[in-house]
């Protein structure tokens, strides 16, 4: 705070904050994109899943075990179970309908309301936050600006998830089933793929990723019942820009939006929150498949 550097207009800390915001967006968007790519379902409740992950993690840390990492795993898995249950009990009934896409969107929107109210019922309307785990809870100072070291951990984990997912989809047997079913469901079913189980599995995985995003972000955000509604819109922007169904697209899109959220206000004072939506409109009109390719790319 001693002086304002004149030459580097962009502080390193702003970049790190932007990338960490992008990382949390990536974790929610990649699950959203994966589910859309394989099941064709645009899951409106994905923001609710993210929020649920944050809440479960907070609850575990403060009530059960005082270990952040265990709480993160519990949070992510709990959300995965909730997601799989929703797919199994509700969304599954809609795959064979004529207007299945819109019915699925409306049903998952119903779950947005249910999850929002359930969270408010259990944890109240207030907002919670926790400190990052002690090992990483220190400030890093670069070029006169500071940020919390935990943000680097979030960025690193997001990159790790991207690599792991890519290896999983392109190099494993289950991944090849996912890709096959994604490109032709009937053919995959005929070749002996248990499509309903695979769908539930993919929905579980996508939900775990959203829960993981929420859990990891618990120390760098205020967790309140409004969180789900906020992040789902950002996630929609990310997946549209990156391309629905594309994982690398979700990563690039998320980093782009994260940086825009962090740096945007410094460059454009008015209209900065409008720019992501403008970008979304333009991408939908010019390249509805997104700036990047399909699943597994």
């Amino acid at each position: 705070m001693s002086f304002t550097p004149l030459v580097p207009l962009i502080g390193i800390s702003d970049v790190v904050i932007g990338l960490s915001l992008g990382s949390r967006l990536f974790l929610i968007a990649v699950g959203l994109s994966l589910i859309f790519g394989v099941l064709g379902v645009l899951n409106f409740a994905h923001g609710g899943f993210y929020m649920l992950g944050a809440y479960v993690t907070l609850a575990v840390v403060s009530n059960v075990v005082d270990n952040f990492w265990i709480a993160v795993v519990v949070g992510a898995l709990a959300v995965g179970v909730v997601g799989a249950a929703i797919e199994f009990s509700a969304i599954r009934r809609l795959y064979d309908r004529v207007d299945s896409d819109l019915d699925q969107l409306i049903v998952t929107f119903g779950f947005v309301l249910v999850i929002h109210e359930a969270v408010r019922f259990i944890w109240g309307s207030g907002s919670y936050s926790i400190d990052p785990p002690d090992v990483f809870n220190f400030s890093v100072m670069v070029g006169g600006s500071t940020f919390n070291a935990y943000r680097l951990v979030v960025i690193g984990l997001a990159v790790g998830v991207l690599v792991a997912l890519w290896l999983f989809i392109t190099r494993t047997y289950f991944g090849s089933l996912v890709r096959g079913t994604s490109s032709d469901r009937e053919m995959a079913a005929m070749l002996g793929v248990d499509v309903p189980r695979l769908y539930t599995g993919v929905f579980f995985l996508g939900s775990v990723l959203a829960g993981l995003g929420g859990a990891l972000s618990a120390p760098i955000q205020a967790t309140s019942p409004a969180l789900g509604d906020q992040v789902i819109i950002d996630a929609f922007i990310v997946v549209v820009i990156g391309g629905l169904g594309s994982m690398s697209g979700a990563f690039v899109g998320a980093m782009l939006i994260g940086m825009m959220q962090s740096l945007g206000p410094q460059f454009i004072s008015a209209g900065s929150i409008a720019i992501p939506f403008l970008a979304m409109v333009i991408v939908l009109l010019i390249r509805p498949e997104g700036l990047f390719g399909g699943i597994g790319e």
Partner: protein, 388 residues
């Protein structure tokens, strides 16, 4: 997929009530009810006005969803357009108009002019937004309308032109008409109810005429099968665009009324969660029926009010509607109106002798009653011949 549609059902409904219950008598009964409601306690009058406005909002939305199959998550943009149109006219032009027409009558003139400006504003926004949006279908249409709505939300919040007063919104003061010994407070509960009732009934009749015109028939053909409609030489994109504009205009009228009722035009009207109210009301009421959105809006407002009677539940009314929405889409796509018609058929027998009420709704209904209808669904899917 059988060719039943809303028009057929409306005429069938007409024939069913023909014995003693003509459409004229029905209309008269409705008019009497509307007048009687004006005599109710003030809060009930307010609640009913609220219902009328939401009903018109949902009706406009459903013109697009129920009649052309395009699900918009951004109609809040037009709801807000109408509200901000009238609010800004009242704020900025009120004194000017008072100078021209005299202070006594000016509140009424300003109100009417504001309404017209709101409507024109909405159409001016809807023409380009609709033109761009109807290029997309299904999920992508939902996403682009969501983006347009949120774009409007961002612009209203950030207020680059200095017109919308940011997050606080614009206060709406309707004023009092004063002509010698006669004075009339436009914002008064009962007066405003009368204005709203007349406007909503007129707009509903207008929409009904559109739906039952050749234009409306083409819209339904597009909903059932865009490809077949195109093969018949219908310009699908052009019809969707026109429907989008009409739909937005109806929503804009609802927005004008909303501003006066709430006494404020607030940015929340453009937020996607407001657009979602139209989705909830329409789906619960039954999107394939003309009266579906109206019945859905009634259920939405009155159940919310009923829940608010119980302090323990008051804060959680959304939970109820979330669960209801899921249940309706999963198990009974015909919604409340479909349920009522089914009930009527069960109670009074089926005048048409056409195999029970369950089959009322063609493809949609069979799809909703899962299992046994699978082959029918496959056919329907083949009919559409696209969108997978």
């Amino acid at each position: 997929m059988s060719a039943t549609d809303t028009g057929g059902r409306v005429s069938r409904f007409g024939s069913a009530v023909a014995e003693g219950w003509t459409r004229e008598r029905f209309g008269l009964l409705g008019a009497v009810a509307l007048v009687l409601i004006a005599l109710a306690p003030p809060f009930q009058v307010y609640l009913f006005t609220d219902f009328l406005v939401v009903a018109l909002f949902a009706l406009g939305f459903n013109l697009l969803y129920g009649y052309t199959g395009l699900l918009s998550f951004g109609h809040g943009l037009f709801y807000a357009g109408g509200a901000y149109g009238i609010a800004i006219v009242l704020r900025d032009l009120g004194p000017v108009i008072a100078d021209v027409v005299g202070a006594g009558i000016s509140p009424l003139v300003t109100f009417v002019l504001g309404g017209v400006v709101g409507l024109v504003l909405v159409v001016l926004v809807a023409v380009p937004v609709g033109w761009l949006s109807v290029r997309l279908e299904e999920i992508y249409f939902a996403l682009i309308t969501l983006a347009f709505g949120m774009l409007g939300y961002s612009l209203i919040i950030q207020d680059p032109a200095g017109l919308t007063n940011g997050t606080d919104g614009v206060i709406v003061l309707l004023g009092t008409v004063d002509l010698g010994g006669f004075s009339l407070r436009i914002g008064g509960r009962r007066i405003y109810y009368a204005i709203s009732a007349v406007t909503v009934v007129a707009a509903t009749y207008g929409v009904w005429r559109v739906v039952n015109s050749p234009f409306g028939t083409v819209c339904k053909a597009i909903r059932e099968s865009p490809d077949r409609a195109a093969a018949l030489g219908i310009d699908v994109g052009h019809h969707r665009w026109m429907t989008f504009i009409v739909s937005a205009a109806v929503v804009g009228i609802a927005g004008v009324l909303r501003a006066g009722l709430a006494s404020v035009a607030s940015p929340g009207l453009t937020h996607w969660s407001t657009s979602a109210i139209a989705v909830i009301a329409t789906v619960i009421g039954g999107a394939t029926y003309f009266y579906g959105p109206i019945v859905g809006a009634f259920i939405f407002l009155y159940i919310r009010w009923a829940i608010s009677r119980f302090p323990a539940l008051e804060a959680y009314w959304e939970l109820f509607f979330g669960a209801l929405l899921i249940a309706v889409v999963l198990f009974f796509k015909q919604g409340a109106v479909g349920g009522l018609l089914l009930l009527r058929d069960r109670l009074f027998g089926d005048g048409d002798g056409g195999g029970g009420g369950g089959a009322l709704n063609g493809g949609q209904a069979t799809a909703a009653t899962d299992d046994g209808a699978e082959s029918g669904d496959d056919n329907a899917r083949a009919d559409r011949g696209d969108n997978s």
